[in-house]
């Protein structure tokens, strides 16, 4: 952003983009006014340790319980791709690099096949083809390895408490989990915006660009 000549700017991120945006916000470089996160890291520490293992802890509100259940299912049934990429990126890289069908299946199997519902076939294939043509299956997996298994949705793992810059959060209804407002306020001490959007999933910007644009306008209005 500096190189492009911007003395002030904001940053937005979802999925790994959220992790990068968290890091940017913690680094708080001169000029960064705030960040918008579409996959917020709000799971409290005492809950994070239970994900994938068993029953929800006692004392959760309904939205908190729903969030736990979504993530618990994800951890139990659908998360192995990320664990494998985080430990053996070169290994999985061979089959994903050499086989178009292998790559397509791997990328489609995200979150129990959810992207298929909200993205068109051509959109999905554009994305897969980009990975294929740039030969980035292995290199993209290495990001998981570099991250060393730090949970993307756990507040402590993303060190959200260290962020003092303004943070805006949009919860999209078909994201991996619906971040409850209670958890979000606990995680982000300088939350300036929290809104549950009408539509959109894990690839919200791609699936619902109008909604996404509306969210960003609203999220950053107070920083203008």
């Amino acid at each position: 952003m500096q190189r492009l000549g911007y003395p002030r700017y904001v940053a937005q991120g979802g999925d790994w983009g959220a992790v990068v945006s968290h890091a940017l916000a913690r680094q708080a470089p001169a000029g960064l006014l705030g960040v918008h996160i579409s996959l917020p890291a709000t799971v409290p520490a005492e809950v994070g340790g239970l994900l994938g293992s068993g029953a929800a802890p006692a004392g959760l509100s309904d939205p908190e319980r729903a969030a736990f259940e979504s993530l618990n299912t994800f951890y139990k049934k659908n998360r192995a791709y990320s664990v494998l990429m985080a430990t053996r990126p070169q290994l999985i890289g061979y089959g994903l690099t050499d086989s178009p069908a292998g790559l397509a299946a791997w990328m489609s199997d995200y979150n129990n096949g959810e992207p298929e519902r909200l993205l068109s076939r051509d959109q999905l294939l554009d994305d897969i083809s980009l990975y294929w043509l740039t030969n980035t299956a292995a290199s993209s997996a290495r990001l998981y390895w570099e991250n060393s298994g730090r949970g993307l949705v756990v507040a402590a793992a993303q060190k959200t408490a260290e962020i003092s810059l303004p943070v805006a959060v949009t919860v999209f209804p078909d994201e991996i989990y619906q971040a409850p407002e209670s958890w979000t306020r606990r995680a982000y001490p300088s939350l300036i915006y929290f809104h549950a959007a009408e539509n959109g999933g894990h690839f919200a910007a791609w699936e619902q660009p109008q909604t996404f644009a509306t969210e960003l306008r609203a999220a950053f209005r107070s920083l203008r």
Partner: protein, 432 residues
């Protein structure tokens, strides 16, 4: 006699359920079909020239990722290792040698529980041979046990006594090797154990023993729980001995519980290491069908199969060392043998079907199962963990043999056939 009994039972059930009894002709046809399926049909392995050429063509056309960003195995099998192996696999490697070696043993096919089961069956020429079924694992196959067959069936020519002879039965699990692939869920180790008992009975054996490592160990533990008539004992080289409370701590990623002996603590730490190296199993256990890359890419398949760990490294140190060994005067694992196993998975297209076994089985890997029939255990130093005698005696109350072998790892039979043979002779000596 068996078919008449089925017929009578069928008639009784039909009456009980108020269903029409099948006419005699249809019943006779059905028993003829049953007889045909249950027949033991000779089998010869023969890959087509086209398939072998296609394999080489695909290997040569491999699209490669760039090199890993580390200088060790910590991201998976290194690029240089895979490229060197691929180079040989596509040129000098010859599957026909493995095929000929396999075909030098009598092989058969029979249908059990709706699936074709392929197996090697060698009867010893020596008297009082003990029938022995050997059950393989993943990423292994029946090829791991080939070097055992001669010493087990012909002991006097291989450092043993006449009384040491075995008849050997080596099946491939459903979804592996030349066996049929399940088309519906349900083929976990429990069902395989029942199928193995059916196989031994069909071969005419009224008493036998069963041996297994890796998945084979899970299968024989299940056979021990099923305790079918005629199963005298099992032998395992990957015993399930971790006490329940300790296993809960282990699976939860907790520190070792208090009060463990030195051996038990070491075993716990070894398994903590193992649990960090089995993410492939988590993937196969949850999304086996997603692994299209290992069906479509020879190199993808080879890397996947190579990355299994042992006590010393991931990929297994014994297997990695084999890749640098073109021959061995002392019977150590060679590069060709490693490729034979991978090529078998490739030619039979069993990468994905083999993975489904992990999806089928929801039980624990190393926790005690409650087997009460006689059990023999061999502890190999390079296995996932060195099962302490204390845990082993508790896990297997009728422990008839416990021995720590001098050498050998996770693929004990494959790596150390002589030691493995000695273990089996000693393990079952008390049953003769």
């Amino acid at each position: 006699m068996k078919y008449l009994t089925y017929g009578m039972v069928g008639a009784l059930l039909s009456v009980a359920l108020a269903l029409p009894i099948r006419p005699a002709a249809a019943q006779a046809a059905k028993t003829t079909q049953a007889t045909a399926a249950e027949a033991i049909r000779p089998f010869t392995a023969r890959a087509s020239d086209a398939d072998l050429q296609n394999l080489r063509t695909r290997i040569r056309a491999t699209k490669w990722p760039e090199k890993e960003t580390v200088t060790d195995n910590s991201q998976g099998v290194p690029l240089a290792t895979m490229q060197q192996l691929a180079q040989y696999w596509a040129t000098g490697y010859d599957w026909r040698k493995a095929e000929a070696r396999l075909n030098s043993f009598p092989q058969f096919m029979t249908t059990i529980d709706g699936l074709d089961i392929h197996f090697i069956h060698v009867r010893s020429k020596q008297p009082n041979a003990l029938p022995l079924l050997i059950s393989h694992g993943w990423p292994g196959s029946i090829l791991e046990q080939l070097k055992l067959i001669e010493p087990l069936t012909n002991p006097t020519k291989h450092g043993g006594k006449t009384g040491d002879a075995f008849d050997v039965v080596i099946p491939s699990m459903p979804g592996y090797g030349f066996s049929g692939k399940p088309t519906g869920p349900g083929w976990g180790p429990e069902r395989m154990g029942r199928a193995w008992d059916t196989l031994m009975k069909r071969l005419g054996y009224t008493r036998y023993v069963a041996q297994g490592g890796d998945w084979g160990a899970f299968v024989v533990d299940q056979m021990g729980l099923q305790a079918p008539a005629g199963l005298l004992a099992i032998h395992t080289n990957m015993p399930a001995t971790v006490p329940a409370a300790v296993d809960r701590a282990l699976v939860a990623g907790a520190p070792a519980p208090a009060g463990l002996s030195a051996d038990e603590l070491r075993a716990y730490q070894q398994l903590q290491r193992t649990f960090k190296q089995v993410d492939y199993a988590r993937l196969m256990g949850s999304r086996p069908q997603t692994l299209y890359g290992i069906a479509d890419s020879p190199v993808g398949l080879a890397a996947w199969l190579l990355d299994h760990n042992d006590a010393d490294a991931q990929p297994a140190a014994a297997v990695a060392a084999a890749l640098n060994r073109t021959t061995s005067a002392t019977g150590e694992l060679t590069r060709d043998e490693v490729l034979d196993n991978i090529t078998l998975y490739w030619l039979t297209n069993t990468g994905v079907s083999a993975s489904r076994l992990y999806w089928e089985y929801k039980g624990g890997f190393f926790n005690t199962k409650g087997v009460t029939i006689p059990v023999a255990v061999s502890v190999f130093p390079g296995e996932q963990y060195e099962a302490p005698r204390s845990w082993t005696e508790r896990a297997y109350p009728k422990l008839i043999y416990y021995h720590r072998a001098a050498k050998g790892g996770h693929f004990a039979a494959w790596e150390q056939p002589t030691i493995f043979t000695q273990e089996l002779r000693a393990a079952f000596a008390s049953l003769r």
